[in-house]
Amino acid sequence: MKAAVISGIGAWLPPDLVTNDDLAARMNTSDEWIRTRTGIRTRHFVSAGMPTSRLAAEAGARAMESAGTADVDAVVLATTTPDRPCPASAPEVARRLGLTGRPAFDVSAVCTGFLYALTTAAGMIASGAAEQVLVIGAEAFSTLIDPRDRSCAVVFGDGAGAVVLRAGEPGDPGALGRIVLGSDGSLADLITVRAGGSERPHPDADPERTDAADRYFSMRGREVFEHAVARMSESARAALAHTGWQPGDVDRLVGHQANLRILRAVAEQLDIPADRLVIHLNRVGNTAAASIPLALAHAHATGDLAPGARVVLAAFGGGATWGATALTWPSLKSV
């Protein structure tokens, strides 16, 4: 059975950089408050009308250039913020990349979305359905945020990261290990946009029945914190068990970039020294499904992630969903 091997990586951030001071000018918060509670200093926001497919295509093009390919057999997009509720955004991403005709679809698992999308793509490769798959995590998450909700408005950011997976052998550098995934639907209210789906109409469609605030994202921070630490730690342990690595063997822990304090707590639970954490949220905030590929791309570009490094990826997100995997970082072309 063919393994899925990372052969290229790319990222893109929308140009609009927003500092904590910029946010403090718009709402009752401060740089110090945001930094000490979240570790975030800056984030990027899409300009009005810039769709997720644009971000995804920019990152995807860079990943394909890094992989040295102008074609792939499929495009899988992980996103919480598709261009429209229907249809999926991946076909439009494929069109923007000159890949019209290729299979393209979205995967929805919020902040765990990129790991779910990797699993899907790896399955296509293992089954022989594809030789190369472009896997993108992209979010215009700021479009879900209530501008009056300062607890969420300071945390999230927009951006996209992507990898190309190719068919290879299990021992190849960059080969994904077993991807451990899980979910618990009883935790759906922890991380949610309540209205606009089949369960509850969008408030514009039915103002009598739906609160205007329900169109926006909401999160129960304290419970998310606890579940995130527990599930990311558990799934990372399970992923490590499949590789045979001990926690001390891990060179870089790339957790979903939700909150610096969650990342540190996960490292502590796993007995992985905190200096092995890849930290990117200070620059971009929480970019949901885009956070892991963005963090990988940044760490790769800066040399923080070197070829041969033993890497663990772990995420927790809405659903609730969670997952982890491990791989040895390959030698990739920087773009």
């Binding site: 509670r37 921070g221 304090r261 540190r264 502590e268």
Partner: protein
């Protein structure tokens, strides 16, 4: 009956000092937790660290940053008693 008393308060003080930079002289029974910058997430971090070091589960739903160091200590001790 065991006469062994785990040095819980010492461990609690160590965690607050090492992880959160709380000065020892501020760790008094009647110190209010939010006055030493321990918000609700910080208390969960404290609970997770203590759980790992002490080996038993601390019920985080009972943690409240409006409580005192003494309340936190009692909570950890009762969790130890139930372990």
């Amino acid at each position: 009956m065991s006469t062994f008393t785990p040095p819980t308060f010492e461990i609690l003080s160590q965690v607050l000092e090492e992880k959160f930079g709380v000065l020892r002289e501020d760790i008094k029974p009647d110190t209010v937790l939010e006055d030493i910058e321990l918000d609700s997430l910080a208390l969960i971090e404290v609970a997770l660290t203590l759980q790992k070091r002490l080996g038993f589960v601390i019920p985080t739903e009972d943690l409240n940053s409006g409580g005192t160091v003494s309340d936190l200590y009692e909570l950890v001790n009762s969790a130890a008693g139930n372990a």
